[in-house]
């Protein structure tokens, strides 16, 4: 079997192949001309193997995407479980109609993508190109509607992070100092954000979102079904925008004990004593967990256990307003918006990436690269696009349909 003689170790640049012999297997490695079609990579033996490997690789990548969004969904779940009033309160600021349109758009684009894959399999070049362009347009439409939604929020100061209207007052003053006050001249008065300012602006916002065009039909933006509407007389803010409210007590404490007790009798015990500053300057570690502040982290909505200030709503359709929101939750409203922007933003980034991939496919399809034996790329981009759609299908009810 082996008729090689051991070489002088210093001479040969590399040791001879221990299997060197005449006959036997073919010298496969050097025969590039007959390896296969151009799109078969050199390290694969057959097109089937390459296709299977590509699909497996894409599924593995999709698993990583699911896990990544899973982390965000987990953050959502923890915060929603522990701070349900915030989520209920804030989701009314999202436009359900636009969200539903987005869902339909993405579903339709998934359909066109699947039809495109089929067209590639059947070699229908023109149909493939049309379907890919339609899918791309679906992505464009989605991002367009998303930008409308985002811009309407930005115009109402519902940003992520420190710019948010609901950001804690004491912390926001630091933000004001950095963004507003540093641009003022030495003579101009410094601006500060007070609790009163914020409350007024919040009432304005609620009036816009909750009472917009009362009495109109389901296809109007910000439609709120009749049973959810809040009677304006329940607001401390009486009348319309032209009638500014009487200046609320200019203190940074919570509304007075008697007013709160009137609004919610169960709060008596909690508000019997004057409460410390709701803004959180000067908070110490012993404040975490105190009833006035509210527990952080551990869910209080355990079955029927009633914790003051954080009662579960037992399936009743409560509709919180700023006044009825428990104190502990008022400082957490901005977190909803961060979670909203993180989830939809990360999803949006994935949509844009998907559009880039589809754009690349469009270029290649226009050059006629795809056919019945070569449609791997279309298929795996299709898998990615379906996943992006699936993630939106989960996001939409979780964020928009909380009621």
């Amino acid at each position: 079997m082996s008729d090689h003689e051991p070489p002088a170790p210093q001479d040969a640049p590399e040791t001879p192949d221990p299997h060197a012999q005449g006959g036997g297997g073919s010298a496969h490695g050097h025969d590039h001309e007959h390896h296969g079609p151009d799109h078969l990579a050199h390290h694969f033996d057959s097109l089937e193997q390459q296709t299977e490997a590509n699909k497996l690789g894409m599924w593995a990548c999709l698993v990583t995407e699911v896990l990544m969004f899973g982390g965000l969904f987990l953050a959502y779940a923890v915060y929603r479980a522990n701070h349900f009033p915030v989520f209920e309160y804030c989701h009314w600021f999202l436009d359900t109609k636009l969200g539903a349109i987005n869902t339909v758009v993405l579903l339709a684009s998934s359909l066109t993508m699947a039809l495109g894959v089929r067209a590639a399999q059947l070699g229908q070049q023109k149909l493939l190109l049309v379907m890919l362009i339609a899918t791309f347009m679906g992505g464009v439409g989605f991002m367009g509607i998303k930008s409308v939604e985002y811009s309407s929020k930005f115009s109402h100061e519902l940003w992520w992070g420190q710019g948010n209207l609901y950001y804690p007052v004491a912390k926001k003053n630091a933000y004001y100092d950095k963004t507003v006050n540093e641009n003022l001249g030495p003579d101009q008065p410094r601006q500060a954000w007070t609790e009163a300012d914020r409350t007024y602006r919040i009432y304005e916002l609620e009036n816009y979102y909750f009472n917009y065009k009362k009495g109109v039909d389901w296809f109007t933006p910000h439609y709120i079904p009749p049973e959810y509407r809040v009677d304006p007389k329940d607001y401390a803010y009486h009348g319309g925008p032209a009638d500014p409210p009487p200046a609320p007590a200019v203190s940074v404490t919570a509304p007075s004990a008697s007013a709160r007790a009137a609004a919610d009798p169960q709060d008596d015990a909690q508000h019997a004593a004057p409460q410390p500053v709701v803004g959180l300057a000067g908070m110490t570690s012993s404040d975490i967990g105190s009833p006035a502040y509210g527990p952080s982290g551990v869910s209080t909505a355990l079955g029927d256990v009633a914790i003051e200030g954080l009662e579960p709503d037992h399936g009743h359709r409560t509709h919180y307003t700023w006044d009825t929101l428990p104190e502990a939750e008022r400082e957490r409203v901005h977190i909803f918006f961060q979670i909203y922007y993180a989830m939809t933003g990360l999803h949006g980034i994935h949509v844009v990436v998907g559009m880039g991939l589809i754009g690349w496919l469009i270029f290649r399809a226009a050059a006629g690269a795809f056919g019945p034996t070569n449609f791997d790329a279309v298929e795996i981009v299709g898998l990615y696009w379906h996943l992006v759609d699936l993630i939106w299908i989960f996001l939409f009810p979780l964020l928009y349909l909380i009621h």
Binding site: M1, S2, P6, P7, P9, A12, E14, T15, P16, D17, P18, H19, G24, G25, S26, A27, H28, G29, H30, A41, H42, H43, F44, Q49, A53, L56, G57, A60, C61, V63, T64, E65, V66, L67, M68, F69, G70, G71, L72, L74, A75, V78, Y79, W160, G161, Q162, P168, K171, Y175, L280, I288, S296, G297, E331, H334, I335, Q338, I339, A342, L346
Partner: protein, 559 residues
């Protein structure tokens, strides 16, 4: 510069090797610095950066941990040895997605650039674990570090995707799952963890980055957030991450032990399934890093139980290795020394892990040097030793040269002694109350630190000796034969170093742990295929496997 655009897995593996050796050096420099700080009480080193000498110490241990964890030890064995050896062992020409492989290397470079940027722009002093709320408020450069770790996560994910597809798809037709070398099982399990766990780190770092830049309040209690939530997120990745570190090391050890005992691995299927079991169990034990975080005692008990059960598959491996060595003809070359050192040190690391899994003792040991010693035993004593052993084992295959065996043994001795000097004493210091991450210490701990620091110097000398050994081997080593150790897995069936497309003829599946087919050839200082007629007329070579070099039909009897 063709190397920077190469798609050849062997070159990519070697580039990774150069990179991880550099980052290991960087992390090692921080380690020696921080140990030197601790050789005397109070301030030892001059205060060069940071707000105070204590915060300088904080930065040193943070950077040591972050560089070592993210840049060195997670990629080390999978990206260096795995990239090089996996296609060879599978008889393939390359990994399934060579361009993804190159992208993974670039992600690693990118992450490394971020960390170097962190070094020169503010440092990092949060501990490698980035616990909030300190990490959201400190003035050190947390954003850059989180982005760097985010990019490195992609390197890990892409390697994992590549390995899964390669192991599923690129085996020859007659190499079934249970004919693969055990390193493949280990890398497969590692790849599964990489694709499942790393994305959770990605989202954690993104949320931390957002929290930091925009002061949002997801994790910061002063803004309504929950710092324990960060710990859950972080450890959900970081515990499986330590299994990313150790599983390939366990695989490498299986290979080396078997080859250097010239005996079939004992309990192949048990070892294979235990790799998968460790991967799966690793996902459900993250809470053992948080026993003292205030979570409920019931969840603590559950995590404690699950953590102890992870010891079972690990122990299965150790016993199987010992059984492999029993009555084998053991050859004590450098790779074997590292593998045997691995078994000993991994056992110590694993057993001390049990003390940390037990709730009552963990209360005492949490955040003490006991924990530090435990994880250094499993990360350095085990993973690093397996990495070094694997590098020695595949050195002739990678470079076509042999290293100097005598220097290899000297380096091993220094490394082994230095390592144990450094870290064994830390178990005792920790159990007597020395807290971790402290720049200063009570006088009663002084001698513990002196011994540990001097041990670290010995370890450093040993590791430099290893480097010297490799460099000398590259420059002046004798030609390496195709099979210096007599292994039977497919990489030994081709030249050293392998040709561009790995094999000159299609390889087929063989039992990687059957060594009977090779005999020692003194003139080339290596093993060659035994010729049944010439060498041993009574040798039948028949138990179903074709002899290497023969077509895949049942071998005829040579009686």
């Amino acid at each position: 510069m063709s190397w920077l655009l190469t798609l050849d897995h062997k070159r990519i593996g070697l580039m990774y090797m150069g990179g991880v050796c550099l980052t290991f050096l960087l992390g090692g420099v921080f380690a020696v610095l921080l140990r030197t700080e601790l050789i005397w009480g109070g301030q030892t080193l001059p205060h060069v950066f940071g707000n105070s000498w204590e915060s300088q110490y904080n930065q040193m241990f943070t950077l040591h941990g972050a560089v070592m964890t993210f840049l060195f030890i997670i990629p080390a064995i999978p990206a260096v040895i795995g990239n090089f050896a996996l296609p060879l062992m599978l008889g393939a020409k390359d990994v399934a997605f060579p361009r993804l492989n190159l992208m993974s290397l670039y992600c690693w470079f990118g992450g490394a650039v971020f960390f170097v940027w962190v070094l020169v722009s503010g440092g990092l002093d949060t501990g490698w674990t980035f616990y909030t709320p300190y990490s959201t408020t400190t003035s050190t450069n947390v954003p850059a570090a989180t982005l760097g770790a985010f990019v490195l996560g992609f390197s890990s994910i892409l390697t994992g995707v590549n390995f899964i597809a390669s192991i599923h798809m690129l085996r020859p037709r007659d190499m079934g799952w249970f004919k693969m070398p055990l390193l493949m099982w280990a890398l497969y399990a590692t790849a599964v963890i990489q694709i499942l766990a790393t994305p959770v780190l990605a989202i954690t770092l993104l949320l931390l980055f957002a929290e930091r830049i925009m002061q949002i309040g997801i994790f910061d209690p002063a803004l309504g957030g929950d710092p324990v939530l960060f710990q859950h997120f972080f450890w959900f990745y970081s515990h499986p991450a330590v299994y990313i570190m150790i599983l390939p090391a366990l695989g490498v050890t299986s290979e080396i032990i078997s080859v250097f005992s010239r005996k079939h691995i004992f309990g192949y299927k048990f070892i294979a399934f235990s790799s998968i079991a460790i991967a799966l169990f690793g996902f459900i034990v993250w809470g053992h890093h948080m026993f003292t975080s205030g979570q409920s005692v019931y969840i603590n008990a559950l995590f404690s139980l699950l953590t102890m059960s992870v010891a079972i598959p690990s122990a299965i491996k150790v016993f199987n290795w010992l059984a492999t060595m029993w009555r084998g003809s053991i050859r004590l070359d450098t790779p074997m020394l590292y593998a045997m050192g691995f078994i000993w040190l991994f056992t110590i690391g694993g057993l001390t892990g049990l003390f940390l899994a037990t709730l009552n003792t963990d209360i005492h040991f949490h955040d003490t040097y006991f924990v530090v010693a435990h994880f250094h035993y499993v990360m350095v004593g085990s993973t690093l030793f397996a990495f070094l052993g694997g590098m020695y084992h595949w050195f002739p295959k990678m470079f076509g040269k042999m290293y100097d065996e005598r220097h290899g043994k000297i380096a091993w001795t220094l490394t082994f002694i230095g390592f144990n000097l450094t870290f064994f004493i830390q178990f005792i210091a920790g159990s007597r109350g020395m807290p971790r991450r402290y720049a200063d210490f009570l006088p009663q701990f002084h001698w513990y630190h002196v011994i540990s620091t001097l041990g670290s110097y010995v370890l450093a000398v040993g590791l430099f000796w290893v480097l010297y050994n490799w460099i000398q081997g590259l420059r002046k080593g004798p030609q390496a034969p195709a099979n210096p150790w007599g292994g039977n897995s497919l990489e030994w069936h081709t030249n050293s170093p392998p040709p561009h497309l790995n094999f000159d003829r299609d390889p087929h599946g063989v039992d990687p742990y059957r060594y009977d087919d090779w005999k020692w050839d003194e003139s080339i200082q290596g093993y060659v295929i035994r010729d049944p007629e010439k060498d041993d007329p009574a040798y039948t070579g028949a138990d179903g496997d074709p002899l290497p070099g023969e077509p895949a039909t049942p071998a005829e009897s040579h009686h």
